[in-house]
């Protein structure tokens, strides 16, 4: 598994295709949080919102890098277990999202005036992870593994993104962001955010299972 993640990360790094989502994320964080003096809950809610489209983009890019022949070789090399390769792909996307997340945690502290505590950082991590998991789930379902035509996949990805951002009372992302905007204390917001993180982890697992089932049928 580690070998697979290393290989995929190397391919992504060398392709330089990670740059666009990375720059988008940094740009959004800079715009949304610069000279911000309010409570950190709202700040990290904005950062988490920025994480969502970037994680979708990163995941779709990562999976789109390899064509069918290369992926076949990787699957055969990994002992003929496509699920293992898919999980490694999701793991690679998650690791890259963690890199974005660390930037998302630190940058608002540098540009604004805050007094961060440990709970604030924990909340920022949980909020961004919730969005990253949701984004990876959307990215996997809209990837080249499921859609051969990336035009349709892009449209679907945008629709799903809007749905999870605007789906009032249904989407865990929407619930979390609206809750964090109004919350003032990180310690109080941490528990519900953690619960939503667990929900999105389940969502991601469901998306992986669905993708695996579809690729198996298509193969």
């Amino acid at each position: 598994m580690i070998a697979l993640v290393r290989y995929m990360s190397t391919v992504l790094l060398l392709s330089q295709r990670y740059l666009a989502p990375l720059l988008l994320f940094l740009g959004l964080v800079a715009v949304l949080t610069s000279s911000d003096t309010g409570p950190l809950t709202a700040t990290y809610a904005s950062v988490a919102g920025a994480m969502l489209p970037c994680s979708v983009w990163l995941t779709m890019t990562l999976i789109g890098l390899e064509d069918q022949a290369h992926r076949s070789i990787v699957v055969v090399s990994a002992g003929g277990r496509p699920l293992r390769v898919l999980l490694a792909t999701v793991g690679t996307a998650a690791i890259w999202c963690l890199l974005l997340m660390s930037a998302g945690l630190v940058l608002p502290l540098l540009s604004g005036t805050h007094t961060p505590g440990l709970t604030d950082l924990a909340l920022g991590t949980a909020a961004q992870l919730t969005c990253a998991f949701t984004g990876i789930a959307i990215g996997v379902v809209c990837s080249r593994l499921v859609f051969r035509r990336q035009g349709y996949a892009l449209v679907l990805a945008l629709v799903l993104l809007l749905a999870v951002l605007l789906g009032k009372g249904v989407s865990p992302v929407n619930i979390m962001l609206t809750h964090l905007q109004s919350a003032s204390d990180s310690a109080d917001a941490l528990a519900p955010t953690g619960a939503l993180l667990a929900v999105t982890a389940g969502l991601l697992a469901a998306a992986v299972a669905m993708t695996q089932a579809i690729t198996r049928r298509k193969a």
């Binding site: 890098l65 076949s72 070789i73 002992g79």
Partner: protein, 295 residues
């Protein structure tokens, strides 16, 4: 070890690409799968290695270590050849240094030109094919599946590939490969399957000795229209069979007399329409008909 029983494959509600395929691959086998473009060769190989699920039937006894070379290996990656092989070796469970050493060794044998540190996407078709071959052999495979492995390879690499195939078979592995050229499959395979119209038929093994012992010679009137002199072919030494097909004369000649018969024919102003090695007896007839469908 590997056994396909009544395997059929189609995508969605499309046409049946394969139907009712029975195939058995034993240790030490070198099998060729012959068929025209789009006949389902690649699909069959993808089912053999487990990349594709058969729609009907079952595949059993797939060994753990499989080497697979797909028909297209488009290197669009910026990753270098040796780095790619190191990563693939690691995925197969080798240590980084062992994988790197093995990669260097394989690329050395295949004499990859253009640099091991050059990005994959800068490699030519033949060189990319060499990298594809090398990744399949990083760990000695129990089953080596090659999809048109000769395409793009230069003459010296042809020899190395034949060595690789023999090595895998000698060490108790099995090799299955495809090619659309009969000459190549006959040279390397010990058994062959022909695909046409989704059906797979086995047509025996290579008849060592008997294959080269007979030559089939087809003679015709010269294109210039000069009439040849009639010869009583059946009295010539080594001629076992003569037949007439339209204006053509078909002779089956023992290999050791074929040159003399050919010379006689040319001296009598016959034109050679075709010349082919042929097996003897009933097996040869099978192979000829199989070749007819393959072409």
């Amino acid at each position: 070890m590997l056994r396909c029983e009544a395997v059929g494959k189609r995508y969605g509600a499309g046409r049946w690409i394969l139907s009712d395929v029975d195939m058995e691959v034993a240790t030490g086998d070198v099998l060729a799968v012959v068929g025209s473009n789009g006949s389902g060769k690649s699909t069959l190989l993808r089912i053999l290695v487990g990349l594709s699920q058969p729609t009907t039937g079952s595949v059993s006894g797939r060994p753990p270590r499989i080497g697979y070379v797909p028909d297209r290996f488009t290197g669009h990656d910026r990753i270098s050849a040796i780095s790619y092989l190191t990563h693939m070796g690691r995925i197969r469970g080798l240590s980084a240094s062992a994988a790197r050493a093995r990669g260097h060794h394989l690329l050395e044998r295949l004499s990859l030109v253009g640099g091991r540190n050059a990005p994959l996407r800068t490699l030519s078709k033949g060189n990319a094919q060499k990298v594809a071959l090398a990744q399949a052999l990083l760990v000695q495979p129990d089953l080596l599946v090659l999809d048109e492995p000769w395409s793009g390879l230069d003459a010296s690499a042809h020899g190395v590939l034949a060595e690789f195939i023999d090595e895998v078979a000698a060490q108790g592995g099995a090799v299955v490969f495809t090619d659309h050229r009969e000459a190549i499959t006959e040279m390397h395979a010990r058994g062959a399957y022909t695909i046409s119209d989704g059906r797979v038929t086995s047509h025996g093994g290579r008849h060592a000795g008997s294959r080269t012992s007979m030559v089939e010679l087809v003679l015709t009137v010269m294109p210039t229209g000069v009439m040849p002199i009639e010869v009583n072919w059946s009295v010539l030494p080594g001629v076992t069979d003569t037949a007439r097909r339209g204006g053509e004369v078909v002779l089956r000649v023992a290999r050791e007399h074929s040159d003399a018969v050919l010379l006689t024919a040319l001296q009598h102003r016959w034109s050679v329409a075709s010349l082919a090695g042929a097996g003897a007896g009933a097996g040869a007839a099978d192979e000829r008909s199989a070749r007819g469908t393959a072409l």
